[in-house]
Amino acid sequence: MHKAYGTTLAAVMASAALLTAGCGQGLLSGDPGSGEKKNEPIVLGMLIPQSGSEAAIGPYMSNAAQLAVDEINAKGGVLGRTLELKTADDACDPQTAAAGANKLVTEGIRVSIGGYCSGATLPTLPIFAKAGIPMIIPAANSQELVDQKLKNVFLINGTGTQQAAAAASWMAKDGATKVALMHDNTSYSKDIAVRTQTLLDEPGGPETAILEAVTPKESDYSANITKVLAKKPDYVYWTGYFQEGGLIARQLRQAGYKGKIMVGDGSVSPKLIEIAGPEAATGLYATMTQTPDTLKGAENWIADYKKKFGTDPGPYSNQAYDAVRLAAEAVTKADGTDGQKVISALEAIDGFSMFSGPLKFTPEHTLSTGGFQILVVKDGKFALQDDLQ
């Protein structure tokens, strides 16, 4: 019940912030660049989960972005100006995210380089679009973000479609016959599950045994698991986040399931292994874009990160780092921070070197190749199983 109060309150705050943002934009609408002075820093904004269920991911992304900002500033900045990073919390929650996006807009950010939870990132798209701010989204990757067809939105993580393709091709390669797809009914998770089902429904290869939705934030998934196991699958693919993923992997094994388990990129977190426990987690597969652990030739970068923050980089550290570098590159090419020119510069980029390989955007502003690979849990860690090349 009190969740409803929270939602209303957040909605009121969001709409209040929207009004302020609207006013600010009115003042600037003549020329977005005219309000700023040449010697002021170029502000990059980053919406990430710093609280809530996905809070563990936030620091991995903001630290890596800060590392990139510091490196660029040490080399003299961009167009003679320094970069500055401003973060805001989206709590993986649409209302909080909208409020955070408005806050960043009023703080005068020039490029948005955040976005982890797709459900929370979606409502921020029109807010940044109205303010004429280009978005380089490092992690969020639901097809719904692409389907908005907004010119200012660029995704540098593989999309749900690409992830589903990777999942389907791996399961076929691994000899799966009956696949149970489980999702948590969020737009991101359901998108991958449904797209995987579409691919599996094509003749040949594994078949879909069942498409099952669970309620997130619960502890007991035995009812769902009993239903799934009644269809006798030999592969279970969970496309939601790590908290439920850990519980489901554990409860599948407790229910006597002997087949294989695979999880989507939202579940790739050391916490998943901790929650599932070592026995249930070992041998678990995951579809994931490149992580610092699986990057080739990133040892120096990992060492720099560790030296600065005292911890290892984690999921989406590399994408967040690349998002900052890409933003700097686009501003340099556009010779200024005018939103329209930066967007054109991003569209024109060809072969910019990133962790995921040379970058060129498709007409939909997504990566031309998703770069998904298969990880496996070994000795309590996610390690590379197959790069699907």
């Binding site: 809070a55 099952e212 309620t215 934030k217 009993t226 239903k227 916490k271």
Partner: protein, 297 residues
């Protein structure tokens, strides 16, 4: 089929344990204590802290240790419930019901976000986990540890029922529930009885919290929210204020969810379970055993 029944009963026994506190508090001061689910969360975190302090233990010692931690946690959450009543509810006892309700919502927020500030937003994992020696009972896979947890839950509920129906203390509770003014005139210390009711209800929620932590492994500061709502529902199904009814209500909700998931799929589970609830309440607004108003605590 027997697996579905077992799944439902297992989840239902958690609902029932938490629902009892709701029901008792409602019975005695007509307050929907929305912070009750958060006492369950508090119990899980207290158990986590105690186990962490105890350090590494061998697997053989896990169960006795957990039972010890369970008792300790019940004491702590019980006292937390008493403190909650003393600080947040007692001064408002004569105030309009809505003020009390909003205070309860406030207390719930305070507990949730207080815990987030103290323990962080990251989920925690219990250091001692109940694994499973699996048994086949009538075609259902049951682990010994699950049986132990259900046995503990049943013992706690039987104990509570005996306490309320057979002891002087229980008689005083029932008297206060019936008519606080008359009870006070008969020489019953109403404040003390209400405090004890909060202690018992909160201790049961704390026990459920530790059991959930040990069985499922993962705890977080919002874990009490959903189960609080479910327990409230269970209490209403059973007839809020009625102890045996509340226990039945918890088990029934667990079964409804289990069968709803199996027949209609996960998306439709809550639609099914709560649809049945609405239908049921239109036919029987007092709940399963709601007519025995004289018994309520």
């Amino acid at each position: 089929m027997s697996q579905l029944v077992w799944n439902g009963l297992f989840v239902g026994s958690f609902y029932a344990l938490v629902a009892l506190g709701y029901s008792m508090v409602y019975g005695i001061i007509k307050l929907l204590n929305f912070a009750h689910g958060d006492l369950y969360m508090l119990g899980a975190f207290v158990g986590f802290a105690v186990l962490g302090a105890a350090g590494g233990v061998s697997a053989a010692m896990a169960l006795p240790l957990l039972l010890l931690v369970l008792m300790l946690t019940m004491g702590v959450t019980g006292l937390a419930g008493v403190a909650l009543e003393r600080v947040a509810y007692r001064r408002l006892r004569g105030a309009p019901r809505l003020s009390l309700l909003i205070t309860a919502v406030g207390a719930s927020f305070a507990l949730e976000y207080g815990m987030r500030a103290a323990a962080g937003a990251d989920p925690r994992v219990y250091p001692v986990r109940l694994g499973g020696t699996t048994l086949e009972v009538l075609g259902a896979r049951v682990t010994l540890q699950q049986l132990t947890l259900v046995a503990v839950a049943v013992l706690l509920m039987i104990g509570l029922n005996l306490l309320v129906t057979r002891s002087r203390e229980g008689r005083a509770m029932r008297a206060v529930a019936l008519d606080p003014k008359a009870a006070a005139l008969m020489g019953i210390d109403v404040d003390a009885i209400i405090s004890r009711t909060f202690f018992l209800g909160s201790a049961l929620a704390g026990a459920a919290g530790v059991m959930a932590g040990a069985h499922y492994g993962k705890i977080d500061f919002m874990m009490g929210f959903l189960i609080g709502l479910k327990a409230f529902t269970a209490a209403v199904i059973g007839g809020i204020g009625n102890i045996p009814g509340t226990m039945l209500g918890g088990l029934l909700l667990g079964l409804l969810e289990s069968f709803g998931t199996f027949w209609l799929g996960g998306e439709w589970r809550d639609v099914f379970a709560f649809g049945v609830l609405i239908l049921f309440l239109t036919v029987r607004p007092t709940g399963l055993l709601g007519e025995r108003v004289t018994e309520r605590v």
